[in-house]
Protein backbone atom coordinates (compact mmCIF):
# COMPACT_ATOMS: atom_id res chain seq x y z
CA UNK A 1 0.00 0.00 0.00
CA UNK A 2 2.86 2.37 0.86
CA UNK A 3 4.44 1.82 -2.54
CA UNK A 4 1.23 2.65 -4.40
CA UNK A 5 0.73 5.70 -2.20
CA UNK A 6 4.23 7.12 -2.70
CA UNK A 7 3.87 6.65 -6.44
CA UNK A 8 0.52 8.40 -6.39
CA UNK A 9 1.91 11.36 -4.46
CA UNK A 10 5.00 11.62 -6.62
CA UNK A 11 2.88 11.72 -9.74
CA UNK A 12 0.37 14.22 -8.33
CA UNK A 13 2.63 16.35 -6.15
CA UNK A 14 1.88 19.42 -8.29
CA UNK A 15 -1.47 19.71 -6.47
CA UNK A 16 0.23 19.82 -3.07
CA UNK A 17 2.89 22.29 -4.22
CA UNK A 18 0.26 24.64 -5.61
CA UNK A 19 -1.67 24.56 -2.33
CA UNK A 20 1.55 25.20 -0.39
CA UNK A 21 2.41 28.14 -2.62
CA UNK A 22 -0.91 29.88 -2.22
CA UNK A 23 -0.98 29.46 1.57
CA UNK A 24 2.67 29.99 2.52
CA UNK A 25 4.98 32.82 1.68
CA UNK A 26 8.35 31.45 2.64
CA UNK A 27 10.17 28.28 1.73
CA UNK A 28 10.33 26.90 5.29
CA UNK A 29 6.58 27.16 5.79
CA UNK A 30 5.97 25.60 2.39
CA UNK A 31 8.16 22.61 3.22
CA UNK A 32 6.38 22.14 6.59
CA UNK A 33 2.97 22.33 5.00
CA UNK A 34 3.98 19.92 2.23
CA UNK A 35 4.94 17.34 4.86
CA UNK A 36 1.79 17.89 6.84
CA UNK A 37 -0.42 17.43 3.77
CA UNK A 38 1.39 14.26 2.70
CA UNK A 39 0.95 12.84 6.21
CA UNK A 40 -2.75 13.67 6.29
CA UNK A 41 -3.18 12.08 2.87
CA UNK A 42 -1.39 8.97 4.09
CA UNK A 43 -3.53 8.76 7.23
CA UNK A 44 -6.73 8.91 5.24
CA UNK A 45 -5.53 6.86 2.27
CA UNK A 46 -6.87 3.66 3.85
CA UNK A 47 -10.39 5.06 3.98
CA UNK A 48 -10.33 6.43 0.43
CA UNK A 49 -12.83 4.25 -1.39
CA UNK A 50 -12.57 5.72 -4.83
CA UNK A 51 -16.05 7.25 -4.77
CA UNK A 52 -14.62 10.57 -5.84
CA UNK A 53 -11.77 11.33 -8.21
CA UNK A 54 -8.31 10.96 -6.73
CA UNK A 55 -7.61 14.63 -7.46
CA UNK A 56 -10.81 15.69 -5.67
CA UNK A 57 -9.75 13.69 -2.61
CA UNK A 58 -6.26 15.21 -2.73
CA UNK A 59 -7.54 18.77 -3.08
CA UNK A 60 -9.96 18.28 -0.21
CA UNK A 61 -7.32 17.04 2.19
CA UNK A 62 -4.65 19.49 1.04
CA UNK A 63 -6.97 22.49 1.42
CA UNK A 64 -8.38 21.26 4.74
CA UNK A 65 -4.87 20.86 6.09
CA UNK A 66 -3.61 24.18 4.74
CA UNK A 67 -6.54 26.14 6.16
CA UNK A 68 -6.81 24.45 9.54
CA UNK A 69 -3.19 23.65 10.37
CA UNK A 70 -1.42 25.48 13.14
CA UNK A 71 1.62 27.48 12.11
CA UNK A 72 3.23 30.32 13.96
CA UNK A 73 2.24 33.67 12.55
CA UNK A 74 4.82 35.99 14.10
CA UNK A 75 7.76 35.21 11.84
CA UNK A 76 5.71 35.71 8.76
CA UNK A 77 4.44 39.08 9.91
CA UNK A 78 8.00 40.35 10.07
CA UNK A 79 8.40 39.42 6.45
CA UNK A 80 5.31 41.20 5.26
CA UNK A 81 7.41 43.74 3.41
CA UNK A 82 7.64 42.30 -0.04
CA UNK A 83 10.91 40.62 -0.81
CA UNK A 84 12.06 38.71 -3.85
CA UNK A 85 12.71 35.59 -1.78
CA UNK A 86 9.25 35.64 -0.28
CA UNK A 87 7.53 35.20 -3.58
CA UNK A 88 10.06 32.96 -5.16
CA UNK A 89 8.56 30.30 -7.34
CA UNK A 90 11.12 27.76 -8.56
CA UNK A 91 12.56 29.07 -11.76
CA UNK A 92 11.84 26.17 -14.07
CA UNK A 93 10.08 27.90 -16.92
CA UNK A 94 12.57 29.56 -19.26
CA UNK A 95 10.26 32.43 -20.17
CA UNK A 96 11.03 35.36 -17.84
CA UNK A 97 7.83 37.18 -18.66
CA UNK A 98 5.87 34.04 -17.97
CA UNK A 99 7.56 33.66 -14.58
CA UNK A 100 6.91 37.28 -13.68
CA UNK A 101 3.26 36.98 -14.56
CA UNK A 102 2.97 33.74 -12.61
CA UNK A 103 4.58 35.27 -9.55
CA UNK A 104 2.25 38.25 -9.84
CA UNK A 105 -0.67 35.84 -9.95
CA UNK A 106 0.54 34.06 -6.80
CA UNK A 107 1.00 37.43 -5.10
CA UNK A 108 -2.53 38.45 -6.04
CA UNK A 109 -3.98 35.16 -4.79
CA UNK A 110 -2.20 35.57 -1.47
CA UNK A 111 -4.00 38.86 -0.96
CA UNK A 112 -7.30 36.98 -0.86
CA UNK A 113 -8.81 35.38 2.24
CA UNK A 114 -8.13 31.72 2.97
CA UNK A 115 -11.49 30.56 1.63
CA UNK A 116 -11.21 32.77 -1.45
CA UNK A 117 -7.77 31.33 -2.19
CA UNK A 118 -9.25 27.84 -2.17
CA UNK A 119 -12.09 28.87 -4.46
CA UNK A 120 -9.84 30.69 -6.93
CA UNK A 121 -7.36 27.84 -7.04
CA UNK A 122 -10.07 25.34 -7.90
CA UNK A 123 -11.34 27.74 -10.56
CA UNK A 124 -7.88 28.09 -12.09
CA UNK A 125 -7.55 24.32 -12.04
CA UNK A 126 -10.70 24.25 -14.16
CA UNK A 127 -12.73 22.27 -11.65
CA UNK A 128 -16.46 22.02 -12.23
CA UNK A 129 -18.91 23.63 -9.80
CA UNK A 130 -19.85 20.15 -8.68
CA UNK A 131 -16.26 19.23 -7.84
CA UNK A 132 -15.66 22.55 -6.10
CA UNK A 133 -18.78 22.02 -4.03
CA UNK A 134 -17.66 18.51 -3.18
CA UNK A 135 -14.21 19.68 -2.08
CA UNK A 136 -15.41 22.64 -0.02
CA UNK A 137 -18.57 21.06 1.32
CA UNK A 138 -20.89 23.82 0.17
CA UNK A 139 -23.69 23.82 -2.40
CA UNK A 140 -23.06 24.46 -6.09
CA UNK A 141 -25.07 27.68 -5.99
CA UNK A 142 -22.90 28.90 -3.14
CA UNK A 143 -19.84 28.10 -5.19
CA UNK A 144 -21.27 30.25 -7.98
CA UNK A 145 -21.88 33.23 -5.71
CA UNK A 146 -18.49 32.98 -4.10
CA UNK A 147 -16.70 32.49 -7.40
CA UNK A 148 -18.27 35.58 -8.96
CA UNK A 149 -17.10 37.70 -6.05
CA UNK A 150 -13.63 36.25 -6.07
CA UNK A 151 -13.24 36.76 -9.82
CA UNK A 152 -14.07 40.45 -9.45
CA UNK A 153 -11.72 40.81 -6.51
CA UNK A 154 -8.91 39.00 -8.29
CA UNK A 155 -9.30 41.15 -11.39
CA UNK A 156 -9.00 44.25 -9.22
CA UNK A 157 -5.86 42.97 -7.53
CA UNK A 158 -4.16 41.51 -10.56
CA UNK A 159 -4.17 44.72 -12.63
CA UNK A 160 -1.83 46.71 -10.39
CA UNK A 161 0.19 43.54 -9.77
CA UNK A 162 0.84 43.16 -13.49
CA UNK A 163 0.99 46.76 -14.60
CA UNK A 164 2.12 48.46 -11.40
CA UNK A 165 -0.88 50.83 -11.31
CA UNK A 166 -3.12 51.21 -8.25
Amino acid sequence: MEKVFTKLITENQGIIHKVCNIYCKNEGDRADLFQEIVLQLWKSYGSFQGRSKISTWMYRIALNTAITSFRKQKKRKIQQQLSVDEFQIPDIHPDVEFEEKLQALYRAIRELSKVERAVVMLYLEDKSYQEMAEILGISESNVGVKLNRVKKKLKKIIKPELYGVR
Partner: protein, 197 residues
Amino acid sequence: MELDELKSLWQQQQTPGRAHSEQDIRAILRQKTHPIFRRIYNKIFVELVVSLFLVTALIILYLKNKEYTIAFMTILIGLASGYLYWMLYKRVHIKFGQDTLRAALVKLERLFKIYDKIQMYFGYLLGGSFFIGYIIGRGINKQLTLDKSWLIAIGAIAGASWVISYPVKWYVSWLYGGHIHDLKSVYVELHEIEQEV
Protein backbone atom coordinates in the same frame (compact mmCIF):
# COMPACT_ATOMS: atom_id res chain seq x y z
CA MET B 1 -5.31 40.37 -18.35
CA GLU B 2 -8.52 38.38 -18.50
CA LEU B 3 -9.34 35.56 -16.17
CA ASP B 4 -9.13 33.00 -18.96
CA GLU B 5 -5.56 34.10 -19.55
CA LEU B 6 -4.84 33.67 -15.87
CA LYS B 7 -6.27 30.19 -16.08
CA SER B 8 -4.03 29.25 -18.95
CA LEU B 9 -1.04 30.86 -17.18
CA TRP B 10 -1.80 28.80 -14.08
CA GLN B 11 -2.19 25.58 -15.99
CA GLN B 12 1.04 26.05 -17.95
CA GLN B 13 3.18 26.14 -14.82
CA GLN B 14 5.30 23.10 -14.15
CA THR B 15 5.60 21.53 -10.68
CA PRO B 16 5.75 24.73 -8.62
CA GLY B 17 8.20 23.52 -6.02
CA ARG B 18 11.06 21.12 -5.41
CA ALA B 19 10.10 17.84 -7.02
CA HIS B 20 10.01 15.08 -4.43
CA SER B 21 11.10 11.57 -5.31
CA GLU B 22 9.34 8.45 -4.01
CA GLN B 23 12.16 8.16 -1.49
CA ASP B 24 11.49 11.69 -0.21
CA ILE B 25 7.82 10.85 0.22
CA ARG B 26 8.67 7.67 2.13
CA ALA B 27 10.92 9.72 4.44
CA ILE B 28 8.04 12.13 5.12
CA LEU B 29 5.80 9.22 6.10
CA ARG B 30 8.20 8.38 8.92
CA GLN B 31 7.71 11.82 10.47
CA LYS B 32 5.12 13.13 12.90
CA THR B 33 2.66 15.95 12.42
CA HIS B 34 0.71 18.11 14.86
CA PRO B 35 -2.44 19.66 13.46
CA ILE B 36 -4.20 22.03 15.84
CA PHE B 37 -6.99 19.75 16.97
CA ARG B 38 -4.55 16.94 17.71
CA ARG B 39 -2.47 19.33 19.81
CA ILE B 40 -5.52 20.39 21.75
CA TYR B 41 -6.59 16.77 22.33
CA ASN B 42 -3.11 15.83 23.49
CA LYS B 43 -2.88 18.81 25.79
CA ILE B 44 -6.26 18.17 27.35
CA PHE B 45 -5.47 14.47 27.67
CA VAL B 46 -2.22 15.24 29.52
CA GLU B 47 -4.08 17.68 31.78
CA LEU B 48 -6.70 15.02 32.43
CA VAL B 49 -4.14 12.35 33.34
CA VAL B 50 -2.30 14.76 35.64
CA SER B 51 -5.54 15.83 37.32
CA LEU B 52 -6.58 12.18 37.79
CA PHE B 53 -3.28 11.48 39.56
CA LEU B 54 -3.82 14.51 41.75
CA VAL B 55 -7.40 13.51 42.45
CA THR B 56 -6.35 10.02 43.50
CA ALA B 57 -3.53 11.31 45.69
CA LEU B 58 -5.74 13.92 47.34
CA ILE B 59 -8.60 11.48 47.93
CA ILE B 60 -6.25 9.02 49.63
CA LEU B 61 -4.61 11.77 51.65
CA TYR B 62 -7.81 13.38 52.82
CA LEU B 63 -9.75 10.20 53.47
CA LYS B 64 -6.92 9.15 55.77
CA ASN B 65 -7.24 12.41 57.65
CA LYS B 66 -11.05 12.25 57.63
CA GLU B 67 -11.15 15.58 55.76
CA TYR B 68 -13.64 15.23 52.96
CA THR B 69 -13.79 18.77 51.62
CA ILE B 70 -10.92 18.56 49.16
CA ALA B 71 -11.81 14.96 48.33
CA PHE B 72 -15.26 16.01 47.14
CA MET B 73 -13.86 19.02 45.41
CA THR B 74 -11.37 16.93 43.45
CA ILE B 75 -13.98 14.31 42.61
CA LEU B 76 -16.23 16.99 41.13
CA ILE B 77 -13.40 18.56 39.16
CA GLY B 78 -12.24 15.12 38.01
CA LEU B 79 -15.74 14.23 36.80
CA ALA B 80 -16.11 17.58 35.03
CA SER B 81 -12.72 17.17 33.29
CA GLY B 82 -13.54 13.59 32.27
CA TYR B 83 -16.88 14.66 30.84
CA LEU B 84 -15.21 17.50 28.98
CA TYR B 85 -12.60 15.26 27.39
CA TRP B 86 -15.21 12.68 26.43
CA MET B 87 -17.35 15.40 24.87
CA LEU B 88 -14.40 16.83 22.96
CA TYR B 89 -13.33 13.46 21.65
CA LYS B 90 -16.84 12.37 20.65
CA ARG B 91 -17.99 15.60 19.08
CA VAL B 92 -14.87 17.14 17.61
CA HIS B 93 -13.15 14.26 15.87
CA ILE B 94 -12.05 15.53 12.48
CA LYS B 95 -11.56 12.95 9.76
CA PHE B 96 -9.54 14.64 7.08
CA GLY B 97 -10.25 11.99 4.48
CA GLN B 98 -14.01 12.17 4.83
CA ASP B 99 -14.76 15.63 6.15
CA THR B 100 -15.15 18.51 3.76
CA LEU B 101 -13.61 21.85 4.66
CA ARG B 102 -16.96 23.04 5.93
CA ALA B 103 -17.52 19.93 8.04
CA ALA B 104 -14.03 20.28 9.55
CA LEU B 105 -14.69 23.92 10.36
CA VAL B 106 -18.07 23.09 11.91
CA LYS B 107 -16.27 20.67 14.22
CA LEU B 108 -13.60 23.20 15.02
CA GLU B 109 -16.30 25.71 15.83
CA ARG B 110 -17.72 23.27 18.38
CA LEU B 111 -14.25 23.02 19.84
CA PHE B 112 -14.06 26.80 20.19
CA LYS B 113 -17.45 26.88 21.88
CA ILE B 114 -16.33 24.29 24.40
CA TYR B 115 -13.13 26.26 24.95
CA ASP B 116 -15.17 29.41 25.51
CA LYS B 117 -17.22 27.57 28.11
CA ILE B 118 -14.10 26.32 29.84
CA GLN B 119 -12.81 29.87 30.00
CA MET B 120 -16.10 31.15 31.31
CA TYR B 121 -16.90 28.49 33.87
CA PHE B 122 -13.57 27.16 35.09
CA GLY B 123 -13.33 29.53 38.04
CA TYR B 124 -16.95 28.90 39.00
CA LEU B 125 -16.36 25.15 38.75
CA LEU B 126 -13.46 25.44 41.19
CA GLY B 127 -15.36 27.72 43.57
CA GLY B 128 -18.62 25.76 43.34
CA SER B 129 -16.97 22.40 43.86
CA PHE B 130 -15.06 23.71 46.86
CA PHE B 131 -18.29 25.06 48.33
CA ILE B 132 -20.23 21.82 47.79
CA GLY B 133 -17.26 19.76 48.97
CA TYR B 134 -16.98 21.86 52.10
CA ILE B 135 -20.66 21.54 53.00
CA ILE B 136 -20.76 17.78 52.38
CA GLY B 137 -17.38 17.17 54.01
CA ARG B 138 -18.16 19.19 57.13
CA GLY B 139 -21.67 17.71 57.23
CA ILE B 140 -20.25 14.20 57.32
CA ASN B 141 -17.85 15.18 60.07
CA LYS B 142 -20.69 16.95 61.90
CA GLN B 143 -18.62 20.12 61.99
CA LEU B 144 -20.88 22.23 59.81
CA THR B 145 -21.70 25.53 61.46
CA LEU B 146 -23.20 28.47 59.63
CA ASP B 147 -22.13 31.84 61.00
CA LYS B 148 -20.85 35.27 59.91
CA SER B 149 -17.53 33.92 58.71
CA TRP B 150 -19.52 31.83 56.22
CA LEU B 151 -20.74 34.89 54.41
CA ILE B 152 -17.16 36.15 54.16
CA ALA B 153 -15.99 32.73 52.94
CA ILE B 154 -18.74 32.56 50.29
CA GLY B 155 -17.87 36.08 49.14
CA ALA B 156 -14.19 35.20 48.96
CA ILE B 157 -14.89 32.02 46.99
CA ALA B 158 -17.17 33.84 44.55
CA GLY B 159 -14.57 36.58 44.10
CA ALA B 160 -11.76 34.10 43.61
CA SER B 161 -13.87 32.13 41.11
CA TRP B 162 -14.41 35.27 39.10
CA VAL B 163 -10.76 36.34 39.29
CA ILE B 164 -9.39 32.93 38.34
CA SER B 165 -11.35 32.88 35.07
CA TYR B 166 -9.05 35.66 33.76
CA PRO B 167 -5.75 33.77 33.90
CA VAL B 168 -7.52 30.75 32.36
CA LYS B 169 -8.83 32.93 29.56
CA TRP B 170 -5.37 34.39 29.06
CA TYR B 171 -3.79 30.91 29.05
CA VAL B 172 -6.12 29.55 26.34
CA SER B 173 -5.74 32.73 24.33
CA TRP B 174 -1.96 32.57 24.67
CA LEU B 175 -1.96 28.97 23.47
CA TYR B 176 -4.22 29.21 20.43
CA GLY B 177 -5.80 32.66 20.43
CA GLY B 178 -4.55 33.97 17.10
CA HIS B 179 -5.14 30.72 15.29
CA ILE B 180 -8.61 30.24 16.74
CA HIS B 181 -9.49 33.75 15.65
CA ASP B 182 -8.26 33.00 12.11
CA LEU B 183 -10.25 29.80 11.90
CA LYS B 184 -13.35 31.49 13.24
CA SER B 185 -13.18 34.03 10.45
CA VAL B 186 -12.76 31.24 7.88
CA TYR B 187 -15.78 29.50 9.33
CA VAL B 188 -17.84 32.70 9.30
CA GLU B 189 -16.84 33.37 5.70
CA LEU B 190 -17.82 29.91 4.54
CA HIS B 191 -21.03 29.97 6.56
CA GLU B 192 -21.93 33.44 5.34
CA ILE B 193 -22.28 32.13 1.79
CA GLU B 194 -24.72 29.46 2.94
CA GLN B 195 -26.91 32.04 4.60
CA GLU B 196 -26.93 34.42 1.67
CA VAL B 197 -28.07 32.00 -1.00
